[in-house]
Symmetry: C2
Subunit: 157 residues, 2 copies
Amino acid sequence: MSELDQSKKYFEDFSEGFVFEYQVPGLSVEEITDFALQYDPQPFHLDETAASETHFGGLVASGFQTQLKCFGPFCREVLLNSGSVGAPGIDNLKWLRPWFPNVLLEVSAKLIRKRVSSKLTGLGYINFELEALADGAPLLTMEWAVIMLTRGTPSID
Amino acid sequence: MSELDQSKKYFEDFSEGFVFEYQVPGLSVEEITDFALQYDPQPFHLDETAASETHFGGLVASGFQTQLKCFGPFCREVLLNSGSVGAPGIDNLKWLRPWFPNVLLEVSAKLIRKRVSSKLTGLGYINFELEALADGAPLLTMEWAVIMLTRGTPSID
């Protein structure tokens, strides 16, 4: 484990009220079908004609792809510049509405609580709530905890 | 919405006690780093050397990739032959241990409960619990509900 890196954010550097807001560009039809072919080949994600015959009335992105596209900017802008060591899971992922092609998402990831680990020395949990809006209405929400090194103890070795 | 397709399984065709068991082959280093580059570029998923200096001690797959690789066979073998119309989310995704390269996963997806929707005519909820084991110990678990057409009402138009 390396020394404390002063250019990074650690547990203590995240304040209650921290919010990261960003946009996720709409996906093309090809991006949606390419992902579906590889990971989630249900007809409403895979093929425009087949999708038009389903209750969605047209092609929609896999919910997993929506989640990944919302997570990406958070990962790059928040986690890569931090003492994050991973996450124990996702508490509550909701796909509230379908994501149709070429629809921009407005995303906010809000710090909802934080606590020092009672079991693991030098680590804390920071809980985030992410909400993605399409045309002003919620489309995806999820909550999860990031496990983060504290400045107090730079190593977990 | 098409007519009831007798080759498919509908809500009534899934019994309490249904279990789908399968294996997920281990991922190569390249598969792990390719996914990370696109979706989850944290150092322990992206680069063997950087990963060796983290608490994981080596490269591990993104938890999102683990989830997708576990979902894929279930999607193809269970959902594509059914009246599934989607899912409202994932209730509880737990990443219990890291997935190192070339480790086979033994997965079981078990039906844990089902109920006819009280609000949506012709639809029911089927809840599944998925567990992936590596070397006999749980590595990933998740629960989710599939929304499924009933035989009684083949259309939700």
